[in-house]
């Protein structure tokens, strides 16, 4: 499989297309969407309109989510949504547990990773809606308590002023070339590596990581920072994510990315909290985010797309590629590998 790169011009065109399609879909289609919505969804929306605002919590920028909420309100104007940003990783779920235990009112909608939501579901803190009845497409009905909203898509990133097209790494194992010793970087968190293990094999990914950490890489808490440091030339290559590389490219940094084969993706989901002030509105918002309209609005605002939604920019980006992600049904393996790979990453200091 070839690994075509996405140029800055290509990205700008794609982003423009997304924005235009969002504008087209949200304006006239919004009203139609509510009219054509399943009865269960309309009923929930009716109940939600009489309740306090839906509080949505996730890690994206407040201004970006404000745009998503504005798009949502074009379809569901009677449901008020407020946003609380939470960038703290595990604290998203932890706050729900603490607030529920202490008699507070937790956020109604959370967008994050499956490991957090699985523990909330085990504690019976999540609503388990009939997603299909709410109009969620079959491809997105993957769990009783959450729906896919967006994805982290793993890519090889390089500085095109420092590394020629011919020399750039084509695949994950190309990053193990000794020439990248001390000049490569990656995300400190390993969910995308776990995803890769599904098709590459657990042992192969483990061996890759062990060799990689011995090469004195820089491992970043944020892939945005990874992309930026590749842009400055402090490191030259890395394994990053599309959504955090695209803004750096858009700003004019000499950065390119290319997909690996297979493409490791880590899906982020949205769930609805049972003890929140407005679980009905939460379900309407989650269902909307899982659909084309919501996915487009979310992608246009945050740069993160949902490849499961047909026609979305993210789906176009990865069209025809082999996607690798651990199935939700094998959650224990996912957790085991996550702990295993995280531990390997945490040993990176030993190489210094």
């Amino acid at each position: 499989m070839s690994n075509p790169t996405l140029s800055r011009r290509g990205f700008v065109a794609a982003a423009g297309t997304t924005l235009a399609s969002t504008a087209l879909t949200t304006m006239p289609f919004g009203a139609r969407a509510q009219g054509a919505a399943p009865k269960a969804l309309v009923d929930l929306a009716g109940a939600a309109a009489k309740k306090p605002p839906v509080v949505w919590s996730e890690s994206s920028d407040t201004a970006a989510i404000a745009k998503v909420i504005a798009a949502f309100n074009k379809t569901w104007p009677d449901i008020k949504v407020e946003f609380i940003r939470d960038t703290g990783g595990g604290t998203l779920a932890a706050k729900v547990v603490q607030e529920s235990q202490a008699g507070g009112t937790p956020a109604a909608v959370l967008t994050g990773d499956q490991s957090q939501f699985a523990v909330l579901d085990q504690r019976s803190l999540l609503v388990r809606p009939d997603w299909a009845a709410l109009g969620v497409a079959p491809a997105s009905v993957v769990s009783p308590f959450m729906v896919p909203t967006t994805s982290a898509i793993g890519v090889i990133v390089w500085n095109k002023q420092k590394v020629s097209e011919a020399d750039r790494p084509k695949n994950l194992n190309d990053l193990l070339n000794p020439r990248w010793t001390g000049k490569a970087g990656a995300w400190l968190r390993t969910p995308v590596y776990v995803s890769m293990a599904h098709l590459m094999g657990e042992a192969e990914v483990r061996a890759h990581l062990q060799k990689f950490v011995s090469m004195q890489p820089k491992l970043y808490d944020s892939t945005y920072r990874l992309a930026q440091e590749i842009g400055t030339g402090e490191i030259e290559v890395g394994y990053g994510l599309t959504h955090s590389t695209l803004p750096v490219m858009a700003a004019g940094a000499p950065v390119e990315f290319a997909f690996t084969d297979p493409v490791g993706i880590s899906t982020l989901y949205t769930c609805c909290v049972a003890k929140s002030a407005n679980p009905e509105g939460a379900q309407v918002l989650a269902a909307w985010l899982a659909g084309r309209e919501g996915a487009d609005a979310y992608e246009a605002a945050t740069g993160r797309g949902n490849p499961r939604v047909e026609g979305s920019n993210a789906a176009k980006l990865v069209a025809g590629r082999k996607l690798s992600e651990y199935p939700l049904t094998d959650y224990p393996t996912f957790l085991r590998l996550l702990a295993d790979y995280n531990k390997i990453m945490s040993a990176r200091g030993a190489a210094r």
Binding site: V55, S59, S60, D61, T62, E82, F83, I84, R85, D86, T87, G88, G89, G90, T91, A93, A94, K95, V97, Q98, E99, Q101, A102, G103, G104, Q114, S115, Q116, F117, A118, V119, G185, V213, K218, L219, Y220, D221, S222, Y224, R225, A227, Q228, E229, G231, T232, G233, E234, S244, P247, V248, A251, G252, A253, L335, L338, A339, N342, R348, A351, R352
Partner: protein, 615 residues
């Protein structure tokens, strides 16, 4: 005086007169017995009343400290024994304690962290003390300007400071490295910020202003008569320094050293931004990973609390050591009822050298990082310094920041929180200092330790405890508001305030207060009219320090963030995590500019107050 009376033995002698008549002897004996019992009862009452009176300040202070410190800390300790690490989950386990305390990797981390902490505290203490001495005791020119400039690094959030230093000293793209390679034709960059030395350097610079602020009042309060007496007795300069000055500075030095050591043990920002990516993991970054990157999906509160207990134990040990050092408090008294003079040491030819050294320090520690941040804020994206980059400079990031509608609200929130926290900490620490240093109140050592204790727990953990506290108390609905962040900051910064004010309090002689009491002043009047004015420099320094740190604090503000209580640092962090380093730098530039203005005003007021006090 009043306490002396209360403490004096209460006469319980037999007041009955002797009788000789046998028939009345029994009656008299009975009466005597009753009288003795009554006297005994009264004596006991007076005794307990005396204890009650003595203990009153402790009890009064215990209430806010229990609320602010003990309750959150108990919650965190309980979390260490919960299987899930969540307070209200069922079960009891010692697994977290056993796992953490028997993990050799953790002890290796502690050893590495101790290396970092000792290095950066020593570096900060040397710089802070040296500069405080030069500014307060020598005839260098521009001392006022140096005072103001020393506070500048405090205005910069530590993670911005870390970013600035990566811009300057990154091996491949750092401005300084590029310049050195270019100028000297080196084959490789000579400096690397991503090392333990680099970490110690940046953390030391970041902590130096705190050391400076603790040491300045101490130097200011040294009575020149003591030094002159030493010199007249034939002591040389070094001998005078060793035998007179250093012992007088011991409270402040010990307080600063202990404070800096503990801060360096738990600090996250700089180790997180510089050390973490290259695998120089310290205890704080390990704690961060346990809270944010745990594969279970929930923070490992149990493990983190178990680690915090170790830090708390170290802190208690250091606190007890400090109390032991301070036991002979009279040795450190420099402010008495007698008039004292401020002695300025002429440096002669050395003055120019000292001024150049100060200029070099200001250039390295203050000007260079601020210029680096200004540079970063003018770029469309993060890039190494070059002529090509110069062509691309833009004000777009500044315009974007200033036109952000969230600015006004976040600025207002930050200011209110900082003002409330700094006033609360200053007032509480004044009372704590007075009780701990000035009274013999039972339990005062516990008060001292309690005030110092929050330092052992990361701000994020304290914020976690506050979620439980304020959600569980229906009457205090401050969860999700700016007030809960103000409470968190008050708790977190009590440690610094109590170290600084205790140190200053040790230098005041009790005779000033006793004179006031003899003149009929009640304790509160004495505190308000005598002690507080004498402590104005230290109180102002604490207020400024807490104000600046509260304004830039991120950890607890982030965790306690609700819909309406976002602060400037959370906005700054939002830009940073969203991959907008240039916009982050633009915010930082305005942040530093605003804080500098505020600090300059505060500093001016402090100087005026100090001048009024000295006259």
């Amino acid at each position: 005086m009043r306490r002396a009376q209360l403490d004096s033995p209460i006469p319980s002698g037999d007041k009955a007169q002797g009788e000789t008549a046998g028939t009345v002897a029994l009656k008299q004996a009975g009466r005597r017995s009753a009288s003795m019992a009554a006297e005994g009862g009264a004596s006991a009452t007076r005794h307990w009343r005396a204890i009650g009176t003595d203990a009153l300040p402790t009890l009064l202070l215990a209430l806010p400290l229990i609320w602010l410190v003990v309750l959150p800390l108990v919650i965190l300790l309980v979390c260490a024994f919960r299987p899930t690490g969540f307070l209200l989950d069922p079960g009891f386990t010692t697994d977290h304690i056993v796992t953490a305390w028997t993990d050799p990797d953790l002890w290796r981390l502690f050893a590495r962290t101790l290396h970092f902490a000792l290095g950066s505290s020593l570096f900060a203490l040397l710089i802070g003390t040296g500069l405080a001495w030069l500014v307060e005791r020598t005839d260098i020119r521009g001392a006022g300007l140096v005072r103001a400039l020393m506070i500048l690094p405090m205005a910069m959030p530590p993670f911005i400071m870390a970013i600035a230093w990566t811009i300057l000293l990154s091996p491949r793209t750092g401005i300084v490295n590029l310049a050195l390679v270019e100028v000297f034709g080196l084959s490789a960059p000579p400096l690397d910020i991503y090392t333990m030395t680099g970490l110690i350097f940046v953390e030391g610079l970041s902590l130096a202003p705190s050391a400076f602020l603790i040491m300045v009042p101490a130097f200011r309060k040294i009575d020149a008569a003591l030094e002159e007496a030493a010199l007249m007795s034939g002591a040389g300069s070094l001998q005078m320094l060793r035998r007179v000055v250093l012992p007088l500075l011991l409270p402040a030095l010990a307080g600063a050293a202990i404070y800096l050591l503990i801060v360096s043990l738990v600090v996250f920002d700089i180790p997180g931004a510089i050390g973490h990516p290259v695998g120089i993991v310290l205890v704080s970054t390990h704690v961060y990973d346990l809270l944010h990157h745990a594969p279970t999906g929930l923070p490992e509160y149990g493990q983190v609390s178990a680690i915090a207990i170790i830090i708390a134990a170290a802190l208690v040990a250091l606190c007890l050591l400090y109390q032991r050092l301070m036991r002979a408090a009279g040795r450190f008294v420099t402010v008495t009822g007698k008039t004292s003079r401020h002695r300025v040491i002429p440096l002669g030819r050395g003055r120019l050298v000292a001024e150049l050294a100060i200029a070099a320090f200001v250039l390295v520690a203050v000007v260079a990082p601020i210029l680096a941040i200004i540079w970063a804020s003018l770029l469309p994206y993060q890039m190494a310094f070059s002529l090509e980059a110069l062509k691309q400079i833009t004000l777009a990031n500044h315009i974007a920041f200033l036109s952000d509608p969230a600015i006004g609200k976040t600025l207002g929130n930050s200011l209110v929180i900082a003002i409330v926290a700094s006033c609360a900490v200053t007032l509480l620490c004044l009372l704590i200092g007075w009780v701990v240093v000035r009274t013999k109140a039972p339990g005062r050592q516990i008060i001292d330790i309690l005030a110092f204790m929050p330092l052992a727990f990361p701000g994020v953990l304290i914020a976690t405890a506050l979620i439980y506290v304020y959600l569980s108390v229906p009457l205090l609905r401050i969860y999700g508001t700016i007030w809960i962040i103000a409470v968190a900051h008050t708790t977190v910064y009590l440690s610094y305030g109590s170290r600084a004010i205790n140190a200053a309090m040790y230098q005041l002689h009790a005779d000033l207060e006793e004179a006031a009491r003899m003149a009929g002043a009640a304790w509160f009047t004495t505190l308000r009219r005598v002690v507080a004015p004498l402590l104005v420099p230290a109180l102002a320094a604490v207020w400024i320090w807490v104000f600046a740190h509260s304004l830039r604090e991120l950890g607890s503000a982030l965790l306690l963030q609700g819909r309406d209580n976002a602060t400037l640092p959370t906005l700054l962090f939002a830009y940073w995590t969203q991959g907008q380093p240039a916009k982050t730098a633009a915010v930082a530039v305005w942040f530093v500019f605003g804080l500098v203005l505020l600090l300059a005003i505060a500093h001016l007021l402090q100087s005026l107050a100090a001048r009024r006090t000295s006259t």
